[in-house]
Amino acid sequence: MNKKQKKILQRIIISIVILIVVTILCYTTKLNQYVEIALYLVAYFVIGYDILKKAFKGILNKQVFDENFLMAVATVGAIGLGDFKEGVAVMLFYQIGELFQSVAVGKSRKNIAALMDIRPDYANMMVDGQLEKVDPDDVQIGSEIIVHPGEKVPIDGIVKEGHASLNTSALTGESVPRDVKVGDEVVSGCVNMTGVLTIKTTKEFGESTVSKILDLVENSSMKKSRSENFITKFAKYYTPAVCYSALALAIIPPLVLLVMSQPPRVQDWIIRALTFLVISCPCALVISIPLSFFGGIGCASTNGILVKGSNYLEALASTKCIVFDKTGTLTKGVFEVTGIYPSAGYDQNSLLYYGAYVESGSNHPISLSLKKAYGQKIDNDLVKDIQEIAGHGVQATVDGHVVFGGNMKLMKRENIVVDQVHDEGTVVYIAVNQKYAGCIVISDVIKETTKEAITGLKHQGIKTVMLTGDSENAAQRVANQVGLDEYHSELLPGDKVEQVERLLQQKGEKDKLAFVGDGINDAPVLSRADIGIAMGALGSDAAIEAADIVLMDDDPAKISQAMKISRKTLKIVKQNIVFALTVKAVCLVLGALGIANMWIAIFADVGVMVLAVLNATRALRIK
């Protein structure tokens, strides 16, 4: 609690104590009536003096219809009619409610700040031969900074010395540490867990990943959702409407009764009007809705899902169609060995051994994936006479055997008979001593979580479409394996926009379409779709800028998680709107009929707000 809150708490306690004392005294001794009234008034002024002051100032400033005014009129009215206890109680509960709200909001503000506690405070830099802590803002591009174990990487850069495991969980929600060595890029915001790193900075602090992310999250509540705008507008008309109704309630029925020559019961109707005023405060709605969205966005951030605005979180809940890019989104975008077909006399290991050794001199992606699949250290002394045969492959002497590795053209040139394989991807044929030894198939692999993610989305009733510039064969293989509803292949970037526009026309008016890409080549599609989602954004500025929702790592399962968070947030928002409006409407009717008294009115105001705020803070803890 801050100073202001503590002060209010003190005032609340004091006035409660006075109320208790008065009540006890009334029962035990015959308290003088004037002393009793005086004590009630003391309690009233202790708890409500600031509200009265604000209400008075509001009238001076011609801003009559605010909650201070409502509370002041209602309580002064109650006291004027002799209901001292009710008058003090209304003011007391109102203040308790306000205090509760302010503590709850402060707490969720702090929670989110803690979630996003990735802002580095300093950078270690060598200044005149001495290691000094400097403001990250003062570090120039190309400077060398040192990051010790336990410290955050303050600025994006490249490792110059040392190796370490980095904890990226604050950025990605991913708990598996990332190992970096000399030459690797590191992004700011990661926490160094093991070794000392010397990093050559490639960006200024303000342009570094950590600054961009913080900026994005802090600004996200600026883009307001439709529900928020609705409630702000609603509150603008609601409060004056209820005030005039209260006025009418106090004047018209007594007049009518008078005309009908019956007793007007003025006091009764004024009490009903005051009850109206207490119920009329729109706080519950106005606070609980942005609070829910803020919680939802905060919750998403901890999972490595950055949402750029409440409006996008809202739109995501009504998404009915998700369009995916293929390479780098559904697939890993890197080549891996997916099939090994040894011929007679060889097994998978020996084939991989020859494959890796014959290609050992090259840095081509295919050679790299062969070496990776082989998995053991290459002994360079075993390989001699490496010759690249352009457009065909490689020839080398491996441990005394002449080995060819390459495509079909190479095998034809060397008159080697090969087996036919039917597998998608790039095929590398291997021949040892002029005899066919088998072939290795290399292709882009589907991410481990893709199938699960697509299945999950389909269960939620979402249509999944893949757009790719790749060949029909490759596209079909991926589409069938993961079970997509629709796919379109061999598309140019312009064709992708056309496809998205076609899909946008097909969907229902209120449904939304999301596009998921890696953010590198698909900026036009990202902006054309209702919601652009970029994934694998860690270290890619283009993606962070172009998209509406940014997935920090490249796990497609995060999409259904994001949708879940968005749906739950929206559900909480709707619960709050319906709950608050219903309770208030019912209480207003009961109040007008004279069934609801001041105590029920207090519940309709403060109770509803407390419940709505508690409900809203659930959004922060969506699992």
Binding site: K4, E98, M222, V286, I287
Partner: protein, 72 residues
Amino acid sequence: MKKTYKVEVDCANCAAKMEEATKNTKGVKDATLSFMTLKLKVEFEDGVDEKEVMKEVLKNCKVVEDDCEIYL
């Protein structure tokens, strides 16, 4: 030109009123106030002196909600 200011205000409804008041100030093109982050983002008209405009904004905000502060 856009600028962001830190704000202090206690209730969400008052924040909404301050936003409205800021928007209606001369020289302000658009404004958003986030009650959750207590930040006021103001987009100014071209060629205005933003310091003068912000003085007006503060004055107008004080009218709708006396108990508020904008850190200029």
